[in-house]
């Protein structure tokens, strides 16, 4: 199954749309651009079709990613 996930970040920060091989879990942390965010809720956005599941994850920013280099 491929999980197409719409991540929306609380507080007006931009979210991300991406495909992944596993569903997002509450408490999981993901990198969205410059920010590290934590998933607070996951719901089905659309009914699954073929090999795809369509999910909506709400996130909250945790902290800024440490700069590289």
């Amino acid at each position: 199954m491929i999980y197409k996930v719409s991540y929306v970040v609380l507080g007006g920060l931009p979210g991300i749309i991406r495909n992944q091989s596993h569903p997002p879990q509450v408490g999981e942390r993901i990198e969205i651009g410059e920010h590290l965010c934590e998933v607070v809720e996951v719901v089905e956005l659309l009914p699954p079709q073929d090999d795809y599941a369509y999910l909506h994850a709400t996130c909250r920013p945790v902290e800024e990613k440490p700069s590289e280099g």
């Binding site: 719409s6 991300i16 749309i17 991406r18 495909n19 795809y52 369509y54 909506h56």
Partner: protein, 152 residues
């Protein structure tokens, strides 16, 4: 560049296509690697290529009063595509797109391929257009969710 079929299969645009159809389409495109900060598309410019993200993240940014250039509208990650609006309507690019991950690998398909596939009358052209329409609808839903503060 050798890209595993499994990676191509996990992209939205190739959903519902057979392995042979996917490989045939991929052969008509070009693989490109971008690095953090690289501009991929400039708002307002002409261009009809369709971009499929195989790995990495890009930021989509619009220049406008409500959304200054340095504020992304959305980030797109693996499996997503962009550039479909100009590929379909031949209009100017509607946003800036730049690479924000350390590296991003993209498959770039010529926009003219869409029309060509439809004119050839095969199944893959119809499926590809359906996938683009479905993806645009999903992006619109994401936009609505963002505007609504995150809740359904």
């Amino acid at each position: 560049m050798k890209v595993p079929l499994e990676t191509l299969r996990s992209t939205d645009l190739f959903a519902g296509l057979t392995n042979d159809e996917i490989l045939s389409l991929a052969e008509r495109g070009e693989y490109r690697t971008y690095y953090a900060g690289d501009a991929i598309i400039h708002e307002g410019e002409t261009g009809r290529n369709l971009y499929i993200i195989l790995s990495g993240q890009v930021a989509v940014e619009c220049e406008g009063e409500e959304a200054p250039c340095d504020t992304p509208i959305v980030y797109l990650g693996a499996g997503q595509s962009f550039g479909e609006m100009a590929a379909l309507d031949a209009g100017p690019r509607s946003a800036n797109v730049r690479c924000v991950s350390r590296e991003a690998t993209l498959l770039v398909l010529p926009g003219t391929l869409l029309r060509q596939l439809c004119e050839e009358g095969g199944r893959s052209g119809c499926q590809l257009l359906y996938n683009i329409a479905r993806d645009l609808a999903f992006k619109l839903r994401h936009r609505n969710l963002t505007a609504g503060g995150g809740g359904l």
